[in-house]
């Protein structure tokens, strides 16, 4: 070890307690950052997966323009054969065709305007949680019977239950009047108000018959194995589609979700920023003190022939060593803590009950990754170095004689 490095290292431990306190602040903030960032991103993953799994899927094949203007005539022709072809090409069962129509649902007492989805019952459960969220009755069978499942809030509004009949009125694809009487076979509770109040599902065959769809539908919903796989799957699907169809990813389908995550991320990172700045001030305080109390000594080494810039580098080296200890310890403790929770899960009182209502897992398992482990500590390390720039620069103004007069 060269002498300047040795000097820097030993200087750190002249006031061991003060150094450890500063390192402690770094370790604490780094641990917190590693854990919180891992937890936060795991929550986002969970949020995205669960939101997309409720209904919209990771991506949808639609007619161009349908996403922004849901008109009945903007159809995907031969929607079931297309879904079947994609299932074969991608070797995946998590692909399902749907049709959609706006209609009036009437019970004996009340009427409400709702969105009626025609679904493939045998595949819908692979792309949506709704089949698993039936609280009363059962989900649609495989037949094309005139059955329907509706949201719990809609059932309460219409004052109907399983076994009751609903009259559906709407417009067919050709603009003609569409009407049908359907039997409620199940009531679901997704926990999402908009879905529970406004949505009903019926078999796609029956839907196409009622709304004169002639084999057409409005979307093919695709759920990729994981969110990370979605872009690749999207590219593969896009490559096979004819010009009159497009594939939209989840960001396009659920812009609100992305915005909510970005808003949450902004506020979280603002808090992390404050934490990092507090640590930086702690380092600034330590290094400024350290420089001030060694003014005499700095005067001596300048007299011996050390340039002021080199003295500044010595202070930066001391800070680098201190920052590295904080970085390594903080990242290690943070990663261990996150790893423990990735195995055992994290839950807080009431979380499991609340999550169960939304068909979400009751425990969160934050995942350790190299990026999430290093990002926070690296930012703290960077700010630590920045905090030492001012004390280091002060040395440039030092005058050897005046410095040596300092006690």
């Amino acid at each position: 070890m060269n002498i300047v490095l040795r000097l820097a290292w030993r200087n750190l431990w002249r006031h061991a307690r003060r150094t450890w306190l500063t390192i402690g602040a770094m370790v604490f903030s780094n641990t917190l950052l590693v854990f919180m960032i891992s937890f936060q991103f795991s929550m986002y993953g969970l949020m995205i997966d669960n939101t997309l799994q409720v209904f919209s899927g990771h991506m949808q094949v639609q007619a161009p323009g349908y996403k922004d203007d849901q008109k009945m005539r903007q159809v995907v022709l031969d929607v079931q054969p297309l879904a079947e072809r994609l299932r074969g090409e991608l070797d995946s069962e998590t692909i399902a065709a749907r049709g959609w129509a706006f209609g009036l649902a009437s019970s004996e007492e009340r009427s409400y305007g709702i969105g009626i989805y025609g679904v493939e019952p045998e595949f819908e459960g692979n792309v949506s949680n709704i089949p698993g969220l039936i609280k009363d009755g059962q989900y649609l069978g495989k037949s094309d019977a005139m059955d329907i499942v509706i949201g719990g809030m809609l059932a309460r509004n219409l004052r109907v239950g399983v076994g009751d009949e609903l009259t559906l009125l709407g417009s067919g694809l050709d603009g003609s009047f569409a009407a049908a009487v359907v039997t409620i076979v199940g009531v679901f509770e997704s926990g999402v108000k908009e879905i529970d109040r406004n949505i009903a599902e019926m078999p796609l065959g029956a839907f196409q018959e009622v709304f004169y769809m002639e084999g057409a539908g409005h979307q093919v919903v695709v759920l990729a194995p994981t969110l990370n796989d979605a872009p690749l799957v999207e590219r593969r699907i896009a490559a096979t589609l004819p010009d009159n169809l497009v594939v939209h990813d989840w960001v396009a389908l659920q812009p609100g979700l992305k915005q909510a995550i970005q808003a949450d991320m902004s506020s979280a990172f603002f808090m992390y920023g404050i934490l990092v700045i507090l640590v930086a001030f702690s380092v600034l305080n330590t290094q400024l003190m350290s420089v001030l109390e060694r003014t005499h000594e700095f005067g001596v080494v300048m007299a011996l022939g050390m340039r002021p810039g080199r003295l500044g580098r010595l202070v930066m080296l001391e800070t680098t060593l201190m920052g590295l200890i904080g970085f390594l310890l903080g990242a290690a403790v943070g990663a261990l803590l996150t790893y423990w929770f990735s195995v055992n899960g994290l839950s807080y009182p009431g979380m499991e009950e609340m999550a169960a209502n939304f068909n979400l897992p009751g425990r969160v398992y934050p995942q350790v990754s190299l990026l999430k482990t290093l990002f926070g500590p690296a930012v703290v390390f960077l700010f630590t170095l920045l905090a030492a720039v001012y004390p280091a620069l002060r040395l440039r103004r030092l005058h050897p004689v005046e410095a040596m007069r300092t006690i």
Partner: protein, 230 residues
Amino acid sequence: MTAVRCVDICKTYRQGDQDIKALDHLSIDIEKGDFVCLMSPSGGGKTTLLNAIGGLDIPDSGEVWVAEQRIDQMSKGQLADLRLANVGFVFQAYNLIPVLTAQENVEFVMQVQGVPAKERRSKSLAILEEVGLRDLEDRRPAEMSGGQQQRVAVARAIVSRPELVLADEPTANLDSRTSDELMELFTELNKNHSTTFVIATHDQRVQRYAKRLVRMRDGRIVDDIEQDAA
């Protein structure tokens, strides 16, 4: 050959409302290999002159030449380089770096000079041997006596064989026996290596070792005599 040349230098300090002339139109030439003792009562200007010669302080006017270079117009960095290459300092309070051992303190200047590690080690051990501290190489300053620390400081000052050694009250904190030993060491280095010594002191015992005695008062040279050293 002239090692140091000061031409009509002035330096004034402000102390409260008063201007104090530390150097008042002072001129002096010091030849290479000389052994000069600057004597004055406190506040006579000897430390200011020493600082001006070492480039630690810049005079308000006049010229200072060291190793054939005019230094009073140099930048801080250039002055640091000049001191590193040409000047060794010995201070009254030793001023060793407390976290480094005796050997590391001696090596420090060479490290700054960029001397390779192996050479640094051998030179530092040799110089510690020369000043009689070979067995104390691993001790830190706090573990050594004042005399031992001053020897380390001397070793640090001369390890790079500078042409000029400036010593400010080097014996002030030493007992008479250690003072004599230190001065004998200086004399030996002066004789063997032709190192120029300029020592600021008001210790009468130090005078005996000087080849040249320069007495100062109020920032001026009042007496400059050559003598036979002890």
